[in-house]
């Protein structure tokens, strides 16, 4: 089993979740109000009042063979809007 961690702007989180779901992810969890730093510089919660928001952290656990499909679903969005993704090993509890 694998764990996928995505970090991207809150405003795009819904789109990424829909893409995950459509690609067959068995489930996912979303944490909003995430701040941080990456290639695009520092991201804070300052602009939250405008609807722009900070980052979201999306976690999806799936079977190892699904990773490729989810990657293909998510990568174009990360490339267009910015954001990063990581994979690691996991087991069901």
């Amino acid at each position: 089993m694998k764990r996928i961690d995505l970090f991207l702007n809150e405003r795009e989180a819904n789109r990424v979740c829909k893409a995950l779901h459509k690609a067959g992810a068995p489930g996912y969890s979303v944490m909003r109000h995430v701040t941080g730093r990456g290639l695009a510089g520092e991201i804070s919660e300052d602009m939250d009042f405008s609807g722009l928001g900070a980052n979201a952290h999306i976690v999806a656990f799936c079977e190892s063979h699904m990773v490729n499909r989810l990657r293909e679903a998510v990568k174009p969005l990360l490339e267009l809007y910015g954001g990063v993704g990581f994979v690691s090993d996991a087991e069901p509890l």
Binding site: N9, R11, H33, G41, E45, M47, S50, G51, L52, L80
Partner: protein, 334 residues
């Protein structure tokens, strides 16, 4: 005259709280208004300003003066992004130029409200229908901004074919008209009008909420805007001197055009100030949220820091009294 107006503006509670927020950041205080409290105030201000505008619109009706003024406002929200885009293109790529242009074509509701408070202090009247102008200037500027980005991008052939037709009209219009803050403002305007027309007892019951609390809530929100604006100052280095110059000159030029239009429409002093402020201000609520989705290639720190870090403080602190001084020179007091 002018310097006394500047001073009178500087010692008003909203502007002082704005300064307090800026000072907090400059001195390194850990004062913060944690999210989502600023959103509470911004939703409240939009709801209250829309509701009040709607009820005054219901009272004044849609006479020719009203329609012409609103028409002129919408015209400005179409022209300003076009002219701004042409200027900004001389040193920026089409995406960033379009996003910034949209911001300056659109409006800042908080600048508008601060101008209203300023008029209140000076005891100068203004018409409620100006809020309708405010509400109708956001969407056209967003649509123009997105279209500019598309057209410029496809002619510049900087994007892959596949991306070109990618985002449908459907999405542009949703971001332009259904953006949360635009939608709430227009919705509250309509509700205010309906309640004023059909259920006048409801007005007095809303009044403590939409009227009495307004000034204090504005102070609170401006405290946060001071903090946020000051935090944007370090982004300005990345923005470069040309953009900073634009962010100061654009409001002056747009306000002057607004003054000329107001004279042509023979608007009274109060309405003229509000019209000038609508032209001069740049959006940092609706437009960033819309541009992020529709022109993701543009760098948010550029359009946010110019509109919120430069133009907004400029208008709130010096712009408004300067525009007023000009008005007192050119527009006869009624």
């Amino acid at each position: 005259m002018q310097s006394s107006l500047v001073l009178q503006n500087l010692v008003s509670a909203p502007v002082l709280f704005f300064f307090l927020g800026i000072l907090a950041v400059l001195l390194g205080s850990d004062l913060e208004i944690p999210s989502p409290l600023p959103k509470l105030f911004s939703l409240y201000l939009l709801l209250a300003i829309g509701f009040k505008g709607g009820l005054e619109l219901a009272h004044s009706g849609l006479g020719p003066q009203v329609v012409l003024t609103i028409g002129a406002a919408v015209l400005m929200s179409l022209l300003v992004p076009l002219s701004s885009f042409l200027i900004l293109r001389s040193w920026l790529d089409p995406f960033n130029a379009a996003a910034i242009a949209a911001s300056y074509g659109s409006i800042s509701a908080v600048t508008f409200i601060t101008a209203e408070s300023f008029l209140n202090v000076l005891k100068i009247d203004f018409d409620g229908f100006m809020v309708a102008a405010l509400a109708l200037m956001e969407s056209p500027a967003i649509v123009v901004g997105v279209l500019l980005a598309r057209v410029a991008a496809s002619s510049a052939d900087t994007v892959k074919k596949s991306q070109k037709g990618n985002i449908a009209w459907n999405e542009i219009l949703r971001e332009a008209f259904l953006n949360g803050s635009v939608f709430l403002l227009i919705g509250s305007l309509v509700i205010g009008g309906l309640v004023a027309s059909f259920s006048p007892t409801g007005l007095t019951k809303m009044e403590p909420f939409t009227d009495k609390m307004f000034y204090g809530a504005l102070c609170f929100f401006l405290l946060d805007m001071g903090i946020v604006a000051a935090q944007r100052i370090q982004d300005l280095r990345r923005a470069g001197p040309l953009l900073i110059a634009f962010a100061i000159l654009a409001p002056l030029v747009h306000a002057a055009v607004g003054l000329a239009l107001s004279l042509a429409l023979s608007l009274p002093q109060g309405d003229t100030l509000l019209f000038m402020v609508l032209c001069a201000s740049a959006s940092y609520i609706a437009v960033p949220a819309a541009m992020r989705m529709t022109v993701p290639q543009a760098n948010p720190s550029l359009y946010i820091s110019s509109a919120l870090g430069v133009t907004f403080p400029f208008n709130v602190v010096i712009g408004i009294p300067i525009y007023m001084a000009l008005i007192q020179r050119f527009v006869p007091a009624s």
